[in-house]
Symmetry: C2
Subunit: 455 residues, 2 copies
């Protein structure tokens, strides 16, 4: 039987995640992002669809590259305002049994001692269903929010991330022995003090001197996600990540990236199958191809030009505000910008693309590609991506809950019938569900496992 395809629902605690403009539709419910029931209903829907996890993105400041100000982002609610993602998990976990919850947390945000306890608490409350998406932030404004002049240099941020993870691993893996907690009511001993020890870390960026203050959780180290694409970022992913978030404009691009990461992981003594690659994907489907196309056209006409460019400029760091909407991409004089924009034109490289076309492409797809078609057609295309080398998808939406309802009621049964998607969840923690036959805890040669000294 073919390997099952993994699915995360890609989300964010804000109004507009990957579809600028569509929040204005009456059938889009993301304006309710401040309500608990909104998130609990969402989690129940995604578990009904047998997805592996909800994957929550995050940013820590407002997109302010387009026009060198934040006006476009604010007007269009483009990933701003944005509330904390971690705080959604306890309520979503309360109404689900198996679904995993991955959330983004930048190493700039918390001291590792604080962060390690958040993870352990969540892993207890969810009974082992937590994943952490390790990010190093990309908006200069995030550094300023924390009182810095801007962000630390890219490679410094990765050096910080590496140290941050190693401190957390020690707190999660090495401070409490497996048999530290006795919970022995008869003898009145909860913890054996001889089985708890200090983490003493005096590093370049972080210092900790004391024991972890939470008892071991089912997974200890959460399932680790990462999405770096730079050489330093992929090195980091190859060593630390168990799931890598890939954005590619075609199966070939994403597949080659997945192969590269898996191959690099082998340099760290890991196997290719130790790393699962999730490709960004948006799907617009309906009962027929015509219905799906009609939805696509309608959504396309509702894209916000300014909202799309606020996001694209924030992601790339390039201010595109000086180009008029009707400016053809190939007339742009700056080579680097023209080349960057051409990376979006692969769907139809022969026609003339204007800035508005680029904005619409980004507006409808978000950070990556969009598939449009009837369920069988979508399933075929998703299988092509898998054949090209990715393991699954981080599925974004056009409208919520509509896009996920369409996918779960239409495409999921097709994939299940083809034996390409799980019909029910496996028992155990998120790590055991993702990596069948493996234990709940990180295993050698993963660096988290390496921090376990003997007792």
């Amino acid at each position: 039987m073919s390997k099952r395809i993994y699915f995360n629902a890609f989300q964010m605690n804000c109004v507009v995640h990957q579809s600028p403009g569509l929040w204005t539709r009456n059938d889009d419910h993301m304006v309710d992002y401040k309500r608990l029931d909104h998130w609990m209903n969402f989690a129940k829907l995604i578990e009904r669809g047998c997805f592996d996890a909800i994957f929550l993105a995050d940013v820590l400041s407002v997109y302010d590259v387009y026009g060198a100000n934040r006006d476009a982002a604010l007007r269009n609610a483009a990933q701003t305002p944005v509330n904390d993602p971690m705080l959604l998990i306890p309520a979503m976990a309360a109404v689900t049994e198996h679904l995993g919850f991955g959330f983004t947390s930048s190493i700039l945000q918390h001291h590792p001692f604080t962060f390690a306890r958040f993870i352990t608490t969540l892993d207890h409350l969810t009974q082992g269903r937590v994943a952490w998406n390790i990010v190093t932030s990309y908006l200069e404004s995030t550094g300023r929010s924390y009182g810095l002049k801007g962000l630390p240099d890219h490679d410094v941020r990765y050096a910080m991330a590496d140290e941050y993870c190693r401190v957390c691993y020690q707190l999660w893996e090495d401070s409490w022995a497996d048999d530290a907690v006795l919970a022995d009511k008869r003898r009145g001993i909860y913890t054996d003090p001889s089985r708890v020890r200090d983490v003493v870390h005096d590093g370049k960026y972080y210092k900790v001197n004391g024991p972890h203050i939470s008892e071991p959780s089912p997974q200890r180290t959460p399932v680790l996600f990462q999405a770096g694409t730079s050489p330093r970022g992929t090195d980091f992913a190859a060593e630390h990540s168990e799931c890598v978030f890939v954005i590619g404009s075609s199966p070939k691009v994403a597949g080659e990236y997945a192969h590269a990461i898996k191959s690099k992981a082998q340099n760290f003594g890991r196997r290719a199958e130790d790393v699962l690659c999730f490709a960004y994907m948006k799907v617009i489907t309906g009962s027929t191809e015509a219905e799906a196309r009609a939805k696509y056209e309608e959504f396309y006409s509702q894209v916000s030009y300014e909202g799309a460019l606020a996001l694209l400029c924030g992601w790339s760091g390039i201010d595109l505000s000086k180009y008029e909407p009707d400016m053809p991409v190939e007339y742009i004089e700056t080579n680097a910008i023209r080349t960057f924009l051409h990376s979006f034109t692969h769907a139809d490289p022969n026609r003339m693309w204007t800035m508005r076309d680029i904005a619409n492409y980004v507006g409808i797809g978000g950070a990556g590609p969009v598939l449009v078609g009837a369920p069988e057609q979508i399933a075929d295309q998703l299988e092509e991506w898998i054949a090209a080398g990715v393991d699954g998808f981080n599925l974004a939406y056009a409208t919520l809950p509509g896009s996920f309802e369409d996918f779960i009621d239409g495409v999921v049964p097709v994939l299940q019938k083809r034996g390409r998607m799980q019909k029910e969840y496996q028992p155990g923690s998120l790590r055991e569900k993702l990596f069948a036959g493996r234990p709940a805890r990180a295993q050698l040669p993963h660096p988290a496992a390496k921090t376990r000294r003997g007792w």
Copy 2:
């Protein structure tokens, strides 16, 4: 009609909060503290009892003063292991409608930019039911966990807390105008960019330069709790706190403390009724006095000596491990220690108190007094405390859920019948529920309100 009495349920995300030894009873469920349903059931019980809020304590490191090590605390699960309290709130809020949620967060734990978003997120998700207990930490080991040599000096910590609050107030109160969020689907404008501005704070301890990234929540600034008892701590409380947590061994002691705080608040232009004083209290009740006494005796016999002293030494910073359990307090040579321990003997100052008696007193009461009796007797005594000047109680428990069930089924109906306790909740945010007739947001002359500049 007499003023209603306020009640918080005093809790902590750990096995042993204020009753060392009693976790070993089969009817105590705190060993389930890692489970979401444990907390959701607890919240439903407390809301059934018409309490104002759940008040979650916290510490960030292990109690290690007794015997200069952490063995006693770990063996007895004395507030350790301890998971993060904030992460319990979303799940508890999901199954309640009116109950408030106060949680402790030390200023050493988070950057104010990070913390401000946590609060705003929670205030949205709970629809305005969040309170923050501002603490500055008291265990030297907490400083070490964060890589410091120990804690900053006491007065420095309060200077930090003052600045921390003022940074948070700016993020909560001054960054987004009331009319910033339009959520206008027709015009496609979510936020009016001209109504969002940066917080620029370049202080002694904290720096922030950017806008708050969450839109305004119902209360903006959460209801503020504080529990300082030092001159600097009470100054802080008098200026910032809306609810003050008081620990007194008798109505007189607690009442005088409450009067002092309220009087000090007037120095800051506030009214006495702007500050509510909650006295620590534990209640052991049953259908008759004899039944309550029998429970008390049984609990008393189950107190853990070592667990009680681990807590007491941690709270006081005094290592009492060199005194044998049978050592009479009055034979202790060090004046300061003898005086400190005599503060626990007021219940019966004429008899000879040993170290074991002190441990049992602390073990059964926790950080403060315990009332034992039938519901009518308890109600009478609580009214005495109120008459002495406090506004309500932070009610601790001996066993969970037993102590709260006994109180809610026994004492609450008596107090309600006497018109001293609410029978149903008032509408609105926690601040509106606690301060009838006032708005959801902090008002002048509170320093949070002072940070609002004009638009």
